[in-house]
Symmetry: C2
């Protein structure tokens, strides 16, 4: 079956017509606006935002977080990086550790890798079969719908880099003492499975709920990557129609209920 997203046909670079300098200026404006809106998000305490970052090794997930959110009050933003499951996490269903980090009302939560690893790396390595992967995708869609019903907006970004750019960055990790801590011997093993990863990413894009689409972010150039993400985050916050509340809900002594 023809997949609706074919990553090999999507550019990993900014459109030629764009000028780096003016895009960077625009990004700075967006970041200011995001910081302002985050303050209202927190004060109002009704909505929340979940930002999911996925992409190959060295696609720039860490950099995206630093670059887009470094103006935001850290009290209102949480970042969690999902790594190899601990024994306790592995003793539970794959969404258990994910759900624990779902954002509270008023918060921005960033997932540096996510529940999608459980239908990506697991398939590339053949740890789960196709039927299990399909069930997991259903569970993922239901789980995200649960968050949606709780006034959580979900933004999912795939950081799209070229193979050449990845090679360059992995080499840089080995050479540059400031980046060497990021290097892992598994990087090169995973890089060899490039086409498998693309294949399973495309399948994820196809089976995800159309209510919560992925944004493919051309990510070879950091300045364009940051702009695309900042723009989407800004629009998501603007669409919430946030307002400062008249009184503080934070100090409320009323009994609470769901």
């Amino acid at each position: 079956m023809e997949k609706s997203v074919q990553l090999s046909r999507i550019s990993t670079r900014a459109p030629d017509a764009l000028q780096k300098k003016s895009v960077k200026k625009e990004t700075r404006k967006l970041k200011k606006a995001i910081a302002r809106l985050q303050n209202i998000l927190y004060a109002e305490g009704r909505h929340s935002l979940l930002v999911v970052l996925q992409g190959m090794d060295a696609s720039g997930k860490d950099g995206a977080i630093r670059h887009v959110f470094n103006r935001v009050n850290p009290q209102g933003v949480k970042v969690v990086s999902f790594k190899v499951p601990t024994p306790e996490e592995a003793a539970h269903d794959f969404l258990w550790r994910i759900h624990a980090h779902a954002p509270a009302r008023g918060m921005i939560q960033i997932f540096n890798r996510s529940h999608y690893e459980d239908v990506l790396i697991t398939r590339v390595h053949g740890w789960i079969d196709d039927a299990t992967a399909r069930r997991r995708m259903q569970h993922i869609n239901h789980f995200e719908q649960l968050l949606l019903d709780h006034q959580t907006t979900i933004l999912k970004f795939y950081l799209h880099i070229s193979r050449e750019e990845q090679d360059k960055r992995l080499e840089e990790r080995l050479k540059n003492p400031e980046k060497r801590w990021k290097y892992s011997p598994s990087d090169l093993q995973e890089a060899r499975k490039w086409h498998d990863y693309l294949h399973y990413y495309e399948e994820v894009f196809d089976t995800c709920s159309p209510d919560i689409p992925w944004t493919i972010v051309p990510a070879d150039q950091n300045w364009y990557k940051a702009y695309v993400i900042a723009d989407a985050v800004h629009r998501a916050l603007a669409d919430m129609h946030l307002r400062y509340p008249r009184r503080s809900h934070l100090k409320s002594s009323k009994p609470t209920s769901h």
Copy 2:
């Protein structure tokens, strides 16, 4: 629409033919067998059991836990009582605090009240509308399916008492110094909403996934209540075909994955 379960037509007492003495003897046997199977469940570390207890105030949920599970190694059993959500819990979707207590492989987890309160007390008091309740029921079914896919067996018990028996027990709470700590002024308010509760319970039974049915437990007599629950727990554990593993998975140093 006719509901498939009508609680008013179901007896709250043991069938007349049963003899209390022989039933109690049978329950003791079942408890021994449960304790033996729990040990294998824990050692094998593949399956888990979730026991959900619901019922009106004074229907005997606490007593059921003590009565059925007091022979089981407490290392392998966890009990959580869900009460009014804390502010942090209320800032998340209604399944957030529930999912956190999903059983790990090898464990028995008991829910004293549960996620079902979020479609029961909330409806009796009109805190959520019908559309929200329907969405929540869907989320509950999906969530339970997620646990099922993780080799978790779910047993759901409704402790079915008569209104007369409840009156008697609530009065007892006021009179008996050993039971007075359980009394809450809200007990009487909730008791007045008896028929509303029955109505919404019946709706829950109807909209639950047929894969994970409820057991209606006649609960006016504690000896019969304990027998019915012990019998169901024993069968659920026996159906898992548990086996002691050859080696310990608990000490495994292998990398873990979902």
